[in-house]
Symmetry: C2
Subunit: 588 residues, 2 copies
């Protein structure tokens, strides 16, 4: 076993780094941030638990230990970990196929999902597989988040209308709500619409009013606006109690058990694991991507650094702790992290203090939540997720590249129409397939010398110097099996195109980053065929790593021409040789 040096320990436990120099100023910043984030998180965590189909208290449980464990292992100073909208949606979608009727079993399965997701993240971190997340392209993520936002907002419509509806795809959800529309509960709808209107105003107009009417600073106004949803919670709860709205058919949160989160391993059976492991992997990757991009954005603002593989370990530990304390999958959330950062969090201790705040809430506030209408929580979710919906990615992708557009369109349509897992997986596969397809049909340019320079460019785009005895083709792709045969045909076709004086073909390899075994055989075939036609094959600007590989084969030995360091060398040398040959002929 390798000795654990202090530096190595600090890498695994970043808390040992910042904890050592922790001071009063940092404590004040962290404490202020923790109070604000706690107030913000209480309604949010209840709402996201509802979205995942779980009892409200599970949202609180999932916000306590994960924050503590992230504070120990995480490398971001401001990231706040807990239930988030997209992961809650994915949790609901992952648990649906289990077909569990009892809420207790469903809750236990959510904890198992968190545990699995934590183990996946931990394994990825230990194996340093953070790069896997790079295969989620930006358009796929953007499309997925947008589609998830639409799905979530529409799934919450039932709580605003006070009806029972179901479904996991947009057509199912909308169809189900449409059918139930006649059963709308009017008091619920009124509460819901008031909450929605208030929350939209909190988001858009409140900070401005606080500044202009009450003379608050911009910072204070924006922070107060962030905790605004709490006023909606208090207002509608009081209204529901005072007006006996439950008697009028308004759904409220009801009894929320008071006490500490239940600690211990949830009931696990093997069949459940085989169903959940796929979704757990997807939740891990999506959660990781979301969390790391938030962490990186915030770190860049203070010139701090994030260690991606350590983040995997931290998120892994957070999810495992969530699974062991009656929670469900968690990750770093955007809104709460920004609030934490803006409110002055200096170190991960802010997260630990927030955890204490939420623990107190779980111990003492839950009786007060009895009359909280579910419509208010739904309104909180709708307002939060509508900011995720950004269909402009479609127009941006369309105008930039049709391949990116295809990937984002496939992701959005399939996420809405079939489900989150199929949507994101198809997006990744479509992106990869289009990339491979493009590399299988490479661009090949005939190039000539840019006058007065040693630089060679496309004869169709630039005024360049060429020679009738020399054909230079710049191959704009690595040579590998998917394009090797095509390259053979293409070179053959260009050589045939009425070039009687042709003596030399130069392949300019500045863009050839690899030559695999299939392509090597194609190069050998090209060399042979050109040789049969009395034309020599040369290479120029072959890169070091490619040249190393070619040296290990017979090809360089069989090559009829030479390998030149630069295209300019090749052009000048061959032109001179041809001129000398001509002079020799006319002198003879």
């Amino acid at each position: 076993m390798p000795r654990l040096s202090p530096d190595r320990l600090k890498t695994v436990f970043p808390v040992l780094d910042w904890g050592r120099s922790y001071d009063r100023a940092q404590f004040t910043g962290d404490m202020t941030a923790a109070v604000i984030v706690t107030i913000m998180l209480i309604p949010q965590s209840l709402a996201y638990a509802l979205l995942a189909g779980l009892p409200a208290e599970v949202g609180l449980y999932a916000s306590i230990l994960p924050l503590v464990f992230y504070a120990i292992f995480g490398t971001s100073r401001a990231l706040a970990v807990g239930p988030v909208a997209v992961v809650s949606l994915m949790t609901a979608s992952a648990l649906a196929p289990l077909g569990l009727d009892s809420l207790a079993e469903y809750t236990a399965a959510a904890a198992v999902l968190a545990l699995l997701s934590g183990l996946v993240l931990l394994a990825m971190g230990i194996l340093r597989l953070g790069v896997v997340a790079n295969f989620l392209s930006h358009p796929v993520i953007a499309g997925f988040i947008t589609a998830s936002g639409i799905l979530i907002a529409s799934s919450q419509m039932k709580h605003i209308l006070g009806v029972k509806a179901h479904g996991h795809t947009l057509p199912q959800i909308l169809g189900s709500i449409w059918e139930q529309l006649p059963h709308t509960n009017w008091p619920t709808l009124i509460i819901g619409l008031i909450a929605l209107a208030f929350l939209f105003w909190v988001r858009k107009g409140m900070a401005g009013v606080l500044k202009s009417r009450f003379g608050m600073s911009a910072q204070a106004a924006s922070t107060t606006a962030r905790v605004g949803p709490v006023f909606a919670v208090i207002g509608t709860t009081v209204a529901a109690w005072a007006l006996d709205l439950p008697g009028a058919g308004v759904s409220v949160v009801g009894t929320v058990p008071t006490g500490l989160p239940p600690l211990g391993l949830p009931a696990i059976d093997f069949g459940m694991i085989t169903v959940l492991i796929g979704p757990a992997i997807l939740i891990s990757i999506i959660g990781y991507v979301e969390s790391v991009s938030v962490a990186q954005t915030l770190a860049a603002k203070r010139k701090q650094r994030i260690e991606p593989n350590q983040e995997l370990i931290a998120l892994g530990a957070s999810n495992i702790s969530s699974g062991l304390s009656g929670g469900y999958p968690v990750t770093g959330g955007f809104a709460r992290s920004v609030v934490n950062f803006d409110a002055g969090a200096e170190t991960p201790a802010a997260g630990a203090f927030t955890a204490v705040g939420l623990l107190l809430a779980a111990l003492m506030l839950t009786p007060l939540l009895y009359f909280l209408p579910k419509a208010t929580l739904a309104a909180t979710i709708i307002v939060a997720v509508l900011s995720l919906v950004d269909l402009s990615i479609l127009t941006r992708a369309w105008s930039y590249s049709k391949a990116d557009f295809a990937a984002v369109l496939a992701t959005i349509v399939l996420t809405l129409g079939i489900g989150v897992e199929v949507g994101v997986a198809t997006g990744v596969l479509v992106s990869l397939a289009l990339f491979v397809w493009k590399t299988s049909r490479p661009h090949v340019a005939e190039v000539g010398q840019v006058p007065g320079s040693q630089h060679f460019r496309n004869i169709h785009r630039h005024q360049v110097i060429t020679e009738p005895t020399i054909l230079t083709l710049r191959i704009d792709e690595s040579l590998y099996f998917a394009n090797a045969r095509r390259m053979e045909d293409l070179i053959q076709a260009r050589v045939h195109k009425g070039r009687d004086q042709l003596k030399h073909v130069i392949l300019m390899c500045s863009a050839v980053n690899e030559v695999d075994l299939s392509a090597l055989e194609s190069l050998e075939a090209i060399n042979q065929r050109l040789s049969d036609q009395g034309v020599k094959l040369h290479l120029s600007e072959v890169k070091g790593p490619v040249m190393d590989r070619l040296k290990g084969s017979h090809f360089l030995h069989d090559l009829t021409g030479q390998v030149f360091l630069s295209q300019y060398d090749a052009f000048v040398t061959l032109r001179q040789a041809e001129q000398e040959a001509d002079t020799g002929k006319s002198a003879a």
Copy 2:
């Protein structure tokens, strides 16, 4: 509907091209070739039918109409279409999951498979999807053919031993034969070993003896050796009849129905199609690759051209005709096409004449096949397929590239261990995954000016000129989602590495063949981050197609530096600017 011009008609029916100028010399050549190929094909087609688990006559049927249809639609002058070893193995493997007990049903299913495969090929030809075959890399094909050869040879061992054995994977086959070893039928083994020894001698020594002892020309000797297997057929058949070997437990072909192939649609049911369509696609692609590479090899020798998409149509028509005439999947075979070519076939008419020969055989010779021992046919197959086995692809791939080696090893191991379909599909996926993985971890070189030239190369491989104020990075890969984030980190790391005087970063884009939307956002982030550090970002040698795309975005507008046509321009311009700035400072 587009008018069919004579040229267009000739493209679809190449027979209209060569048929018009058909003359007596061509007829003589074609006729000679047809006689030789017919003699060679009779035992071969019976043997391959046996390999596919079909009655012997199905092999003959599959050799008649397909030859005629290929003669009408094909573009190769010498390709001979019919049952081949690998496709016969794949047919057996495709039909096994149907679990058919009756031989009649099994034979009908083989015809359905041919029909499906024909339709797939036809569709690929019409949609011009011949390029799909390029995704089968050379190492994957080589590995697959080698593994198939081993599987086929071991599956035929049971006929040589005269035992009943089963299985579709190498461990199953060998295990089954090992169990049955005590039941070896000695007369069968003796016949089998004699046939094997004779056939090996025919292949290796016969031509030499015919030349030296009998004074034959090299051409005549090698052609006679090609029809050598017929002597084994005749010899062992006579021996089986004279010695009453069936009475001693030697399996013989038995009654082969005499007459024309049955014409008409085989019995098709939908459930069968869903099982067979996947294997049909794989058989189509493998058959097409095998056929086209044979056709191209032969065409190159006579400077003729093959039209790949028309070949798909011709093979499609051949397979459909095979399915409609009681046959099974066919493709262009290597050995028979070479014999056809060597024996002087001038046009596809040779194939049509061969078809007539085989038709006559089906009408008249079948009673003579009663006493033909199955051991002889198995020996024919074993000798034929052992020439396909070439394990040297493993060592060649290992010494050239570990990625190619991984693909070929996966293909061989899984083809032998699980089956042909899994083997070849995994080979393709492994090849693609390794390619994508490599492009996600690109090589990035810091470059400097090669003295006395305008050429820039890796500072670690060449003696080059650099400037402390300028860092030039050559990125050896297209920029896309899988490597965009990595590139951000990498550039950041290089910039950090103790460069206090750094003012300019130049990204040399000569190897960047694409910049997708994810990479564009990474470039924007890099530009922003460098700008925060007081460093300008420049690009050089951006290719036309990439530049076109960047012009459609905001990036060029936000770029802190410039885009230079050549790296030399960039280096000279920025160095001069920095020198002027320095002179200005010291003057002030």
